[in-house]
């Protein structure tokens, strides 16, 4: 067999005549990205991802099609080549009607694979669902109860039925069921690495960091100033929203993974960061935002701090509030304080300086408070607080406000209306106007800060001190539990990388494209064949019990209800999200999917085939399926139609996939480098046994 000799990236190589430059490079172990190249098929050289520079050539050449020739000198990697590959990917993505991950998952700060676990619930595989959930969330039962569920706002059902899928209720259900199971599905501790990590703060951020670090085999010690773990979940959020048993069960999971808890131990008085760093291989700071903001008005010291109040109730006290209580603020702490005070028998009014729409808490919290008889007054701000005579009663002088210009947060700034002062008389004023991070402690230990809290690298959560990472409210200021959980997971990955001597990059997030903007025609295509289905309601506690106890209001879904709700899931996102070459290379080459926005392919779906689904909007014209169908001697097969920008792959004569691919469908789906042709995944409708689309064609 004749051979040729060439030079690739400075290395000589000899290959059989007829081999391509790509073959030759691979024989040297040089990796070149490809999309349209399919082993065993004639090359088409369409995507140009595999482009290389041949010395003396004006153009870059597609290595997958270029025959290796004697004396050729090839470069497979240079700034120019990388830029060409990146631009190629950006162009492909600019013409891509795809959605790598479901819009709900895209909105979840922790990146939970929503359609994945929901499908598993629908399929009755609760253990599998827990595995999927634990991959991204610790404390899923807790989050299912308290999370504001940004995911549900992104749910495509919102554009179709009135309400999105009850995602939070579903992972709560799965978790509750799991906890009740004889053999619950739980993560396992990794093989001991011998490394020790100190975690300051046993709130959701710290617990999550431990949850994942322990699975990596690193020993974790959690230090917390409070007697019990849970952070604000325990000392802030009231029982009627989050029963302690549910929280304890989840903390128990971390405990059983082997965490050591050093409670009632305070950083600053009981130990210093320097000591921790000396005794441990890494440190995670999840100290939250514990300081309550002041009212900033005359007499502010007469007000009770909201978190202080909630903490005392959480610790079993019932503070004497008197008969009438005024809560100042509009966030979670305000609502929780108001509703807790109601349960302690007081009359409660909430004064908020903006309007209902600006309230930084869940609307159902507001509605719940109103149902329970809490009065809400908007556009009111405190001016002065004073004691009435010598007694306990207080006089709060307030001022009416109106909304002015937008501030940095995009909300309209309240401005006082002159001469609008009025008096409110009450026994107790609870100030729930925000929490802040303890900056002085951090500063003292040499940590850098931002306006919100500790300064960290966004991707890795590393602080300025080597081996010290931070996340959660400590970094973001008072925020959300799910973001603290997300941060704990990121930090765990970074710390693991740090401990195992890898470059610290944080978890790899694959590039993802969203389907946007979607017009009516596409919308119709998305919802074709999908039945309307209202959200399954969750049973709640009766009002009498609500006001007389701290029992949980939301009773959770039953098994059948959960299954029915799970079946509402449209399984959005791409069936090939995990195996998509386009996505993979876009990640590697840092392609920006939105750099060349312009006209693009339309979303469409052909699901006439029993084995595969075809979405032409995701086709990158690699020709693989066309070649495979031809090779398999399909009668109709597939062909490229149209010209220019509007080319597409279609079954000839407007026939459908079920006619086009009678033998080669599976191979096409396997070869298709994107999700354009994908094996049918279990869609919810398959589970419902409707069999509609697949039944017709078989």
């Amino acid at each position: 067999m004749a051979t040729v000799r060439l030079k690739i990236d400075g290395r000589e190589v000899t290959v059989e005549q007829g081999k391509t430059v790509l073959d030759a490079a691979r024989s040297l172990g040089i990796s070149i990205p490809t999309l349209c190249h399919i082993e065993g098929l004639e090359p088409v050289a369409a995507c140009f991802l595999c482009c290389v520079q041949v010395e003396g050539a004006r153009t870059l050449s597609p290595s997958c099609a270029l025959p290796a020739a004697n004396g050729m000198v090839v470069t497979t990697d240079s700034d120019d080549i990388r830029a060409a590959r990146r631009t190629a990917l950006e162009l492909l993505l600019s013409d891509h009607a795809g959605e790598c991950i479901a819009p709900c998952a895209a909105r979840c700060p922790a990146g939970l694979d929503v359609p994945g676990f929901v499908y598993e619930i629908a399929a009755g595989q609760n253990d599998q669902a827990m595995k999927t959930i634990f991959d991204r969330l610790s404390l899923p039962g807790t989050l299912g109860r308290v999370c504001p569920r940004l995911c549900e706002q992104g749910c495509r059902r919102c554009d179709y039925d009135h309400e999105g899928l009850a995602i939070g209720a579903l992972h709560r259900h799965a978790t509750d069921r799991n906890q009740a199971a004889d053999e619950p599905a739980l993560p396992r501790a990794g093989e001991a690495s011998g490394k020790r990590v100190a975690i300051v703060g046993a709130g959701p951020a710290g617990l999550t960091a431990a949850f994942y670090l322990l699975q990596h085999g690193h020993a974790c010690t959690l230090f917390d100033a409070h007697p019990k773990a849970g952070g604000m979940l325990r000392y802030g959020i009231p029982e009627y929203r989050l029963p302690r048993a549910a929280l304890d069960a989840e903390i128990d999971v971390v405990d059983r993974l082997g965490a050591t808890f050093r409670m009632s131990t305070r950083w600053g008085s009981d130990f210093s960061l320097t000591e921790l760093r000396r005794d441990h291989d890494a440190v995670f700071l999840g100290i939250g935002a514990q300081l309550s903001s002041r009212l900033r008005c005359e007499g502010e010291d007469l007000a009770y701090s909201g978190i202080e109040f909630l903490r005392r109730v959480a610790e079993g006290e019932s503070p004497d509030l008197g008969h009438s209580v005024v809560v100042i603020g509009g966030g979670n702490t305000a609502m929780d304080s108001a509703r807790t005070a109601r349960r302690l028998g007081a009359e409660v009014r909430v004064l908020y300086r903006r309007t209902r729409t600006e309230m930084p808490c869940l609307m159902e919290e507001v509605e719940g408070a109103e149902e329970e008889g809490v009065g809400l007054e908007f556009l009111v701000a405190p001016v002065r607080l004073a004691r009435q005579g010598n007694g306990h009663a207080l006089t709060l002088v307030c001022q009416r406000m109106e909304l002015g210009e937008e501030d940095d947060s995009g909300r309209r700034r309240p401005v006082p209306i002159p001469d609008s002062e009025f008096e409110v008389r009450c026994d107790t004023v609870i100030a729930a106007v925000g929490q802040a991070v303890d900056r002085s402690l951090a500063e003292h230990e040499g940590l850098e800060l931002t306006g919100w809290g500790l300064a960290v690298d966004e991707k890795t959560l590393a602080t300025n001190l080597p081996g010290v990472f931070a996340g959660g409210d400590a970094v973001l200021g008072a925020d959300l539990a799910v973001r603290a959980v997300a941060a704990g997971r990121i930090a765990a990955t970074s710390i693991d990388q740090h401990l195992t001597g890898q470059p610290v990059t944080g978890p790899e997030e694959l590039a993802a494209i969203a389907l946007r903007p979607v017009d009516d025609e596409e919308q119709a295509a998305i919802f074709r064949d999908i039945e309307k289905a209202e959200r399954v309601p969750t049973p709640t506690l009766g009002m009498e019990q609500r006001l007389s106890s701290f029992e949980e209001i939301d009773q959770g879904l039953g098994d059948e209800q959960a299954r029915a709700e799970a079946l509402r899931c449209l399984s959005c996102g791409c069936a090939k999200a995990g195996g998509c070459g386009l996505r993979r290379w876009a990640t590697v080459y840092l392609a920006d999917p939105y750099r060349f926005l312009g006209r693009r392919r339309r979303f469409a779906r052909d699901d006439t085939h029993p084995e595969v689904v075809y979405e032409p909007g995701k086709c990158i014209m690699c020709d693989a399926c066309v070649r495979i169908a031809a090779e398999a001697s399909e009668e109709l097969g597939l062909s490229i139609t149209g010209r220019g920008f509007d080319v597409s792959v279609a079954v000839p004569f407007d026939a459908s996939m079920s006619d086009g691919l009678r033998h080669a469908a599976r191979r096409c789906a396997e070869a298709c480098p994107t999700g354009a042709i994908a094996l049918r995944t279990g869609r919810a409708c398959d589970l419902a046994g409707c069999g509609g689309c697949s039944a017709e064609t078989t």
Binding site: A46, F645, V647
Partner: protein
Amino acid sequence: MSGSGEVEFRVGLASCGVANGARPVHEAIEAAVREAGRGAARAVGCGGMCHREPLVEVVDADGRGVVYTHVTPELVPGLVRRHLRPKGLLTRARWLAAGLAERGNGGSALHAAATEETSAAPRIVLENCGRVDPLSLDDALAHGAYEGLRACLERFTPDEVVETISASGLRGRGGAGFPTGRKWSLARAQAAPKYVICNGDEGDPGAFMDRLVLESDPHRVVEGLAIAAWAMGAEEGLFYIRAEYPQAVRRVREAIREAEARGFLGERVLDHDVRLRFEVREGAGAFVCGEETALIASLEGSRGMPRLRPPYPVEKGYRGRPTAINNVETLACVPWIVRHGAEAFAALGTDSSKGTKVFALAGKVRHGGLIEVPMGVSIHTIVEELGGGVPKGRTLKAVQLGGPSGGCLPASLGDTPVDYEALRETGAIMGSGGLVVLDDRDCMVDMARFFLRFTCHESCGKCTFCRIGTQRMLEILDRLCEGEGREEDLANLEELADRVSRTSLCGLGQTAPNPVLTSLRYFREEFEAHVQEKRCPAGRCAALTDYRINDAACIGCTMCAQVCPVNAIAYRPHEPHSIDLDLCTRCNMCFEVCEDGAVEVISGGEVCATSPRMSAAEKAS
């Protein structure tokens, strides 16, 4: 030639003539000749002045000819009678008739620019176009057809012929300019069976020389391909002609049939032990099918999609066999070279570019049409001397060569000769022969957009950069012309242009950015004006342009009001007119009719053009 002593009336019946009503003219002449009992009516191909069809060339008994343009059937009786009168009156008659045709012409010159003004150079490709009856092999033979083939078979060896073609310096006229002799010798070295293909796909918008030659002188091309096949050792040849050229397809089929019947093709060519079988295939009609590897795919029954070269068709082409593909014009030169010798061909032109080149001259020149010029002539000469320069009041801005694959050459580089290398150095290319003259009212952004839109639509859609990159470039140019250009647009445009040209598989993608790149190179400030000032300096882009009538100059002649298609100008005799900008579509009609310098085109607050002011004498003509 017409030594018959008869007066001959030649009517151009190529597509261009027919489209302009030459058939009734031909019929009228036949009738008139029949009536007179003298003279002969002959159908010929196109003479190159397509913009003045129908054309009638009258050749008198001495072989002297005169050309009438824009002839109508009504003019025919008088025209025929004049030429068939006794000799003494002929001169006067010709003069009269000339005047007649002139008037119909709006005063342009009468004679084919190509023949007269470049008389120093022989016509090679167009030698017989408009002279020979394309439907008659006998007439073709009378004009020397197949003499070259005969000479080859009787006097030369194939190697000698390949050598002759090499020595002549002939280079491919299909666009790339690859030395034809080299291609032939590469093909000759390959093992049989092999194929020769005549590429008659001609897809450049505005180019029509290949069609003209195929329609008007098909035997010349058949002979060219026959010589090529014999010299390379191929027995089978294919004509790939676009389906939109039905006349060309029919005539070449007919020419092959006749040539076979008379032994110029077939099992024993001219009684030699030489076998040549030719066939005509109709092209799919896509521009990219003119690219040789796509052409082969299309011939093989697949979708016309290019593939990576190497391997080149000369190694692995049609049906996997060695295949030499030549352009129509290239092949049309071959018989001439064989008949006249390599030296005669090489005597014309520059060091690296020999012979002649046919161009389709169009745009802002007084006389457009097909011209055949010797290589080495300057662009300036073509525009001024053959084209008659740009219209009055306008100035030459640039020349666009090579259509969508080519580029523009600014007026300042007008001295550049027609030479492959010299043109390439400017960023433009020789191309397959489109030559569009642009004046100061032509917007370079818009021009680049026009050509890019073409390639973008014609991309086969395979390569990422060619398919999507050109679309994104087009979107940027659209934005510029709409006055929505963004800060980053020019940088992105340049990056994409560079990427598309260096990261596409075939010539289509590799050259698609040329119109953009050259306009950016020579007229960057015009692009910048569109982005930064939302101004179109040529006053062309509708979204950026307003029209206005200058009260001081307007004489109230109402011409503008009469032509305005949307009644944006109120009809007010003897008063200054004005334009309702809400109605105005920026069609430029008022600007074109105004003879008093009153219509102004405004962009970005600046007057960028004023209609020319004509003298009384100019108006009268």
